[in-house]
């Protein structure tokens, strides 16, 4: 019944060396599975490591430790091996204006991938087909257009077509609609869903917008300071968030399923100074209000680090001492594990 995940990460960590010799741990141990045809949203605020994680999965950033496997095979370390991988796993960037070389026409932008990989037969047909699938019809009309002549939505469609032309199995989208006008975003998201239906593409969508996750994601993983703190089916995570951080994020949205807005004070610490114990404990409202103490886990919150969450695709899992000791009623009803 369980399919083999198409993209998988185990124990992934990524460190950056900063000026002055300090090390910033952008990704601090992540286990991740992406099933074929699944849309997984990776959510979190700036500095949580989601962008770095996405780049590491693409092979653009070298992980400090851990493994990434694609279709069961570990990622190659040579550049030629990585090149083959790049056909299968493609990137959609945030800013479509910056993502397209202003000197290249739409045709060249889309054909670039084909040329890099030496696919020369039927280039024109492949480009036309990719553009048509992305809603730019008739495709010939766009061949000679330059990016600055197109609207934001059209540019993003060109970027997606450029990825699609290589017939990938996985799309990794980094804030795919954040730079677009609000009323146009739905179109691009609908396009991604349509491509998933037509081609069986899996997608990992990195976003800070939980509404986007609600809109298109099958599963949601919430990241904080380099770790996934909660993950599971989108409906469950967003209507009944277990982790205090997720709960707070959902609660401040207008018209939220969590009734009481919990506005966290302060800001996340930077990645060079990850707190001991549970990394969220300095800002945790449960710890501050005594809820954790009442459950007897306050000490664990401050001292005991939590294990990396397993990449189980079906369960709603959360990394929190309090939830492990005292699951909420709803959680008990629907098999939450820590």
């Amino acid at each position: 019944m369980t399919e083999q995940p198409i993209l998988s990460a185990r124990g992934l960590t990524v460190d950056f060396r900063l000026r002055g010799g300090r090390r910033a741990r952008a990704v601090d141990g992540v286990d991740l599975d992406l099933a074929p045809g699944e849309v997984l949203a990776l959510a979190g605020e700036s500095g949580c490591g989601k962008t770095t994680l996405a780049r590491a999965l693409l092979g653009l950033v070298k992980p400090t430790s851990g493994t990434i496997t694609y279709a069961g095979e570990p990622l190659a370390s040579t550049s030629s091996g990585l090149k083959a991988y790049r056909r299968a796993v493609q990137l959609i960037l945030q800013d479509p204006t910056g993502a397209l070389n202003p000197r290249h026409t739409v045709y060249e932008a889309v054909a670039e991938g084909l040329r890099i990989h030496g696919i020369t037969d039927n280039e024109r047909d492949r480009v036309a087909e990719a553009l048509a699938h992305c809603g730019l019809r008739p495709p010939e009309r766009f061949f000679l257009a330059y990016p600055h002549e197109l609207s934001g939505g059209q540019r993003q469609r060109v970027v997606i077509a450029g990825a699609l032309v290589l017939e990938p199995k996985v799309l990794i989208a980094d804030e795919p609609v954040a730079s677009l006008d609000a009323s146009v975003r739905g179109e691009i998201l609908a396009l991604l869903l349509r491509l998933r239906e037509q081609f069986g593409l899996a997608a990992l969508v990195v976003t800070h917008d939980l509404g986007l996750a609600w809109s298109i994601a099958d599963r949601l993983a919430v990241m904080y300071l380099g770790r996934i703190v909660e993950s599971g089916p989108t409906e469950r995570v967003l209507t009944d968030p277990q982790h205090p951080y997720t709960r707070a994020l959902v609660s401040v949205l207008p018209d939220s399923p969590v009734s009481e807005p919990v506005v966290l004070s302060g800001e996340p610490p930077d990645a060079t100074r990850i707190p001991a114990g549970c990394r969220f404990h300095p800002r945790c409202p449960e710890l501050a209000s005594g809820g954790a103490a009442a459950a007897g886990v306050a000490d664990a919150c401050r001292r005991t680090p939590l294990p990396v969450l397993p990449a189980d695709p079906h369960q709603h899992v959360v990394a929190c001492h309090l939830r492990m000791a005292r699951p909420t009623k709803a959680a008990e009803a629907g098999s939450v594990s820590g």
Binding site: Q90, N101, E112, Q154
Partner: protein, 328 residues
């Protein structure tokens, strides 16, 4: 009553479609059409720079004249032993001396050769040296700049230290040393100018490369699987090229001046006529005290005009490639 959209989005189209490519049959046709359109667009923008057009026309005239010199004039007039005129004759239309005017339009030099003829043939050498030295400088500079900017790390450090060394190298001293080593020929001058000019370009190109490398489309290229060569030639170079082109034209102006200086100091090929050489001989032969203004002014003005034309073109190119500089 929220808005609903149909399953497929309505055909979205750009506001302005630049061409109507209804008769495209192959990729090559697409590429050529795109190139022609780009060239037409470039010319349209360039035409708006009046000064640039003036410079371009001036350059065209000079280059044509220089190339056509063997066809329209008689090279024997350059031979010192067969000089047709008398020493330092004023131009034919100049009645006020010193000395009696002969039949030469711009007078003669100290050996009796026509100054007009010498200036025309001198253009060949000055332009040849100017262009060749510049190509050498730009070639090296671009290579070093892009490599340092793209690879970063120790490659960049090493290359930049080498560049720094070449920046402080004094052109004159090097030229004299080379002349002593290689003999005073055109090649010497070309090498001297080329080798001392590339460093400035390298730094400029490296800075621009760093700016381009930070742009998202480089990351997209890497994500598509592009290797270093593809990234540098398909993305970095085209975006750095405008800067290079504008820099090149200005560099030629500088090289022509440099050639004139070096020839004036006697480091050029004594067998070939060049403007700097003419100025040098004018000075040495006492033309100044004699009052033979035509001998000094003609090559001097020629240098001025060529440098001016290249500069105007270079500035116009800068304005075309960087719309913010376009005035209006």
């Amino acid at each position: 009553m929220t808005a609903s959209t149909t399953g497929t989005p309505p055909p979205t189209s750009p506001d302005t479609s630049p061409e109507e490519p209804s008769r495209l049959t192959s990729t090559r046709a697409v590429v050529w059409q795109r190139r022609r359109a780009a060239l037409a667009r470039f010319w349209r923008d360039y035409r708006q720079q009046r000064a640039g057009v003036v410079g371009l026309v001036g350059l065209a005239l000079i280059v044509v004249a220089a190339l056509a010199a063997p066809l329209i004039t008689d090279a024997s007039g350059l031979d010192v032993t067969r000089a047709p005129g008398k020493r330092l004759e004023p131009p034919s239309w100049w009645p006020w001396g010193p000395g009696e005017a002969g039949e030469f339009f711009l007078g003669t030099d100290e050996t009796g050769r026509s100054v007009a003829l010498l200036t025309l043939w001198g253009a060949r050498v000055s332009l040849l040296v100017g262009v060749t030295a510049t190509l050498l400088a730009i070639g090296i500079g671009t290579l070093v700049g892009i490599t340092a900017g793209h690879f970063g790390g120790w490659v960049s450090s090493v290359l930049m230290r080498v560049t720094d060394w070449f920046i402080v190298l004094p052109r004159l001293v090097l030229a004299i040393a080379l002349a002593a080593l290689l003999g005073p020929t055109i090649v010497t001058i070309v090498v001297a100018i080329g080798v001392t000019s590339w460093a400035g370009t390298a730094r400029l190109i490296r800075a621009q490369t760093l700016a381009v490398e930070a742009r998202p489309y480089l990351e997209r290229a890497r994500a598509l699987g592009a290797g270093h060569w593809h990234q540098m030639t398909r993305h970095v170079l085209p975006n750095v090229m405008p800067l290079v082109l504008a820099s090149t034209t200005l560099e030629v102006a500088s090289a022509v001046l440099a050639e004139a200086t070096l020839s004036f100091l006697g480091l050029g090929d004594p067998a070939r006529v060049s403007w700097g050489g003419m100025l040098s001989r004018a000075n040495a032969s006492g033309a100044v005290t004699y009052g033979a203004w035509w001998y000094l002014l003609t090559p001097g003005l020629a240098i001025l005009v060529v440098v001016l034309c290249f500069t105007l073109c270079g500035r116009a190119l800068e304005a075309v490639f960087n719309p913010r500089l376009r005035g209006r």
